[in-house]
Symmetry: C2
């Protein structure tokens, strides 16, 4: 199991930077004043496919040999990783085989098709997804790209904080949400190498708190029946992402569903940007724990902006 290092993230950034957007870092005076902090938002909701996942997928696709690339890439996912891998493959001119549960929302199927992904539908269970993926790989020889528990993917996700630190220095804290842990582990690897004194903190929904449990009990504990609005954070850590988080992350905060929606609404109303619930989890942690953040300069990676406008959570909480 190869552990990503600082240099690997720097190489990943060189590899992908012509293919990904350099997203802006935004600030918001009114939110800063309300919370007594200075926040710097790295807007990966403006990234291609609307999520940071495009960085890891692009790095994985561009890291393949010509020979492997010719056989394509494959994954099972119904979320942002599926769209990200499809577009990353399209940009290299290779095939992406995506296994999706047949009950996936129409909008997700359309996105993957729109980026040229070749979809195999399966029953909506983890077992069916994994079996379908094995079958696709046996037939095509495609390389599997995991959504988070993979060297190249973690290195790609680590490039977001590299840009954030280039655009604003002297941060006290860097925060990301944590689901599978790809973004958090890549972020921690990069930050702790350059600035060991900068805190790397994460936010996680209380309703899907496997990372918090694993981190505090010192062993990998998978999530059971995650029931959170933050649909990007319902996954469990993998062995690779867990090992990095265990060693390099300083603290994980858990937050309520109500705080997630409140934080998301605050960004929509005050910043006029669209972020998905997962993106709001770090701000929710700040709102729930103002004392821990008072007068600190905090960089936050906004993970994505893909929401279903016909089913918004405002008014439900």
């Amino acid at each position: 199991m190869r552990i990503p290092e600082y240099d690997d993230i720097v190489s990943a950034h060189e590899r992908i930077s012509a293919f990904v957007h350099r997203t802006p870092v935004l600030t918001c005076k009114s939110i800063d004043e309300m919370l007594g902090v200075s926040l710097f938002f790295k807007c990966e909701n403006f990234q291609k496919v609307g999520a940071f996942k495009f960085r890891g997928a692009t790095n994985a696709v561009l890291s393949l040999s010509e020979e492997a690339a010719a056989r394509g890439v494959a994954t099972h996912s119904s979320g942002n990783h599926a769209a990200a891998l499809a577009l990353a493959a399209k940009q290299r001119g290779i095939k992406a085989y995506i296994v999706m549960p047949d009950n996936s929302p129409e909008v997700k199927k359309k996105a993957v098709k729109g980026y040229g992904g070749i979809i195999t539908f399966c029953k909506p269970t983890l077992q069916a997804r994994e079996e379908a993926l094995v079958e696709v790989v046996e037939k095509t020889g495609a390389t599997v790209v995991h959504p988070y528990n993979q060297f190249e993917v973690i290195c790609g996700q680590g490039t977001a904080v590299k840009e954030l630190l280039e655009d604003c220095d002297e941060l006290d804290v860097v925060m990301t949400p944590v689901g599978g842990g790809g973004l958090l582990s890549g972020t921690a690897t990069f930050v702790k190498h350059l600035y060991p004194e900068v805190k790397v903190w994460a936010g996680e929904p209380l309703m899907a708190n496997d990372a918090w449990q694993s981190f505090n009990e010192g062993r990998l504990i998978p999530v059971v029946n995650p029931n959170t609005i933050a649909d990007g954070l319902r996954t469990s850590l993998g062995d690779l992402s867990y090992a990095i988080i265990r060693d390099k992350v300083d603290r994980i905060f858990t937050v309520s569903e109500k705080s997630i929606v409140k934080a998301m609404r605050m960004m929509w109303e005050r910043m006029k940007i669209i972020v998905e619930p997962s993106s709001a989890v770090p701000l929710a942690a700040i709102m729930e724990n103002p004392g821990c953040f008072y007068q600190k300069k905090v960089g936050i990676i906004l993970t994505g902006g893909n929401v279903d406008l016909d089913h918004l959570p405002f008014g439900c909480y």
Copy 2:
């Protein structure tokens, strides 16, 4: 009636630029590809108070003599102009008296109060509003700042396109929505002085098409019972804004309510930014008239981002 000229807008920009945000110009490859155009969006939804109205209000407030300023400013408005004037006055340290109908949405009252505005409530008729304003002015000696039909306000609104043209040159067309005509008349004044060959086109809801009627019939025709989702565009042109639009605007397109919502949704989904319905009217005009815009470089001023997240129009059309 003093008609704003190019130099007046340049002076306004010098006067206000330390007080307003220089908003970014965004592009969106997927929208460009769908419509066969190159669009440049000037994001006044990111402006202070969430709307371009802050430019005109700030210019009016900063243009006052010390003596007049000491007596404060006043207006009647339940929209973005009320919040804009309140904050502009606060930034100069003077009072803003805002007459609002007593049935105004709670969120609008809170915004004006939040910026330190002194509210006088009145019955929700135009007559009651005008009478209440006269009374406030008699009592305080405050200077009335009209939402659009006023020299300083038009000059202030014209500064948005000045920045847009500084950030992207060689546009074929500049577009704004038209309601009271403050933004459109300021925009046309600036553009036609510098680049007479650049077209200045406007978008207007069919359900509030007084500018289109006035423009085509050659006389000022007020709007009757405007019933459009674009709440910023329900007002009639004034004599000053009309005179400028008549002389300097090239064309006004009217658009359906359905197109406005469709265009708004496209910007939310593809650009991940929050714009209010009024902002979507120019894009709606492009969607309804693709032949007029094919392969053109079009600058669009996005007027604002203030929407009620509890009452969104998606799914209604």
